[in-house]
């Protein structure tokens, strides 16, 4: 007897021939303007930090895959993009050992121990950055780290200033300056306008979901406006919260990571909005000046759960209620034993 073996493969079944590195090339192109601007603004130390972060991330990726005995993924560009993202979040004159430790934590603990690209539960860039910022807070807060460099514009980070001196500092940071990137912070997180252009490029290319990024910004705006309306003397407005710190960087490049965002449209909106609200809550009520890192990490933890929120299938409810209706006797007898 002939036995026919039919195997059912997981989707997707139609493939257009593109590859991970096509998406990663898009990410690099989108990040480049802000990275170049950071290098111009902070000078050679920034170039050194970015190159070291990218290089060490790629090397760690190769070593980790070899050590764990898995297929080599060094060429797919994901480690390169993650190294670049990590480097752009660091202050320009971060010590070399801190960059190497950070990319090690990112690639090895955040990414490869869980199986590499497509498998990690939390964004590795944020894992690496969060561990660094918990361990060496003084090295990572820009106004302490950048004390050796001469800079244009106010030296204090906008969000740290907000935390210390209240919303009146918003006058020191005009929105246009923030948009152009005249703010202290990570190398590539300050140039908000260029980052937004990069994000729009990625959305137009279809590489990241507009649902996550735009609902993220909407969440920040709504939550910040509510706080601002309740007490304008204590909380800054929506524009400041969106333009200052890592909000835009997080919205377009960190929260939109494929592996750690929900798949379905409605969950994506909820995920983005929730992240934005949480970030404003951490900034306004928490101890940290900027909540982007921890806000996105917390929502990353919940993304599989959020992905279960789906509209019910049309007609799906009929089947279920019909099935329940199959045993009317049981329902009647259990409700009224005297009838």
């Amino acid at each position: 007897m002939n036995r026919v073996v039919l195997s059912v493969a997981m989707g997707p079944h139609i493939h257009d021939g593109s590859h991970v590195y096509r998406i990663m090339a898009g990410y690099v192109a989108a990040l480049m303007p802000a990275a170049v601007w950071g290098c111009v603004h902070y000078g050679m130390p920034a170039v050194r930090t970015l190159l070291l972060a990218v290089g060490s991330a790629v090397v760690w990726e190769g070593l980790a895959r070899r050590f764990l005995g898995r297929d080599q993924t060094i060429h797919d560009g994901s480690a390169l993009v993650q190294g670049l993202l990590m480097g752009m979040m660091l202050p320009a004159n971060t010590p070399w050992w801190l960059i190497i430790v950070g990319t090690f934590l990112m690639i090895f603990i955040g990414k490869q121990l869980f199986g590499g690209i497509g498998c990690y539960p939390l964004n590795p860039v944020l894992i690496g950055y969060a561990i660094l910022s918990v361990s060496w807070p003084m090295r990572l807060s820009s106004h302490f780290a950048l004390v050796d460099l001469t800079l244009k514009g106010p030296v204090l980070e906008p969000l740290a200033a907000l935390k210390s001196y209240g919303p009146s500092v918003a006058e020191v940071y005009p929105p246009l300056n923030l948009l152009l990137g005249l703010q202290t912070g990570g190398i590539g997180t300050g140039a908000v306008g260029l980052l937004a252009l990069g994000g729009i490029f990625l959305m137009a290319r279809g590489d990241i979901s507009w649902r996550v990024s735009l609902s993220f910004l909407l969440g920040v705006a709504v939550a910040a406006s509510i706080f601002h309306v309740i007490s304008p003397s204590r909380f800054a407005g929506a524009a400041f919260h969106i333009l200052a710190g890592t909000t835009v960087f997080g919205a377009f490049f960190l929260a939109s990571d494929y592996t750690t965002t929900p798949v379905y449209p409605l969950p994506r909106l909820i995920y983005g909005f929730g992240t934005g609200v949480l970030i404003v809550l951490i900034r306004n009520l928490g101890a940290y000046p900027d909540g982007t890192v921890f806000g996105i990490l917390i929502l990353n933890l919940f993304h599989p759960l959020i992905d279960r929120i789906r509209p019910s299938v049309v007609g799906g409810g009929v089947l279920r209620s019909g099935w329940r209706g199959c045993s009317p006797h049981q329902v009647r007898s259990s409700r009224s034993p005297h009838m």
Partner: protein, 201 residues
């Protein structure tokens, strides 16, 4: 010799936190320094040896149905003893370990050894079993605490080792550092075991 085997198994096949993955609560909570781990491990060892001996002595008298309650009463007695001894002789250590000294009562290693070993074996073997398991636990906690203390503060047993230019890796002495270190140690133990098995083939 069986007696040697009962002793060494506490360091090899039944190394508590890394092989049996038991007693993780003190393992994760108190190992911010090597001496905390050592003190916690020795206190547990004391309770473990005493409770194993007593359970083994009374194993024919304790009724089967109420044995768990009887074991807990005996263990609790020794925990109170160790608590008072630590207050008398090692007060700073007692203060650092805090609530985790009384919580030795509910450490599942001790009840586990009473139930699985001491209630079925003669006194001599039970004492040796308790000593081996307890010292294995002590060793694991000291190693874990040593790694975390060395990276997290640059010192070992309170003596600075890594020099003034070392900037402490503060994450290691925080709670998530305990989980990450434990995970990496488990990973290394499993790696060594699988390599050893491969070599044997």
């Amino acid at each position: 010799m069986r007696i040697i085997r009962e002793f060494t198994k506490g360091f090899t096949t039944e190394l508590t936190p890394f092989r049996l993955v038991l007693g993780l609560c003190p393992t994760l909570a108190v190992t911010t320094q090597a001496d905390n781990g050592l003190g916690m491990g020795l206190a547990t060892t004391f309770v473990l040896v005493c409770s194993n001996v007593l359970v083994s002595l009374l194993r024919h008298i304790i009724p089967q149905k109420v044995r768990i309650a009887c074991f807990i009463v005996m263990i609790a007695t020794f925990v109170v003893a160790v608590e008072l001894l630590m207050q008398a002789f090692f007060y700073p250590l007692y203060q650092r370990l805090g609530i985790f000294v009384p919580l030795i009562v509910v450490n599942c290693i001790i009840l586990g050894r009473a139930e699985a070993f001491a209630s079925k074996n003669p006194v001599m073997y039970s004492a040796v079993d308790g000593l081996g398991i307890g010292l294995g636990f002590t060793l694991s906690l000291t190693v874990l605490g040593g790694i975390r203390e060395l990276l997290g503060t640059g010192a070992l047993f309170g003596h600075p080792l890594l020099g003034a230019s070392f900037e402490p890796f503060g994450f290691m002495i925080k709670a998530p550092g305990a989980f990450v270190t434990l995970g990496i140690l488990l990973f290394l133990m499993n790696l060594l075991t699988s390599l050893g098995r491969k070599r044997a083939h």
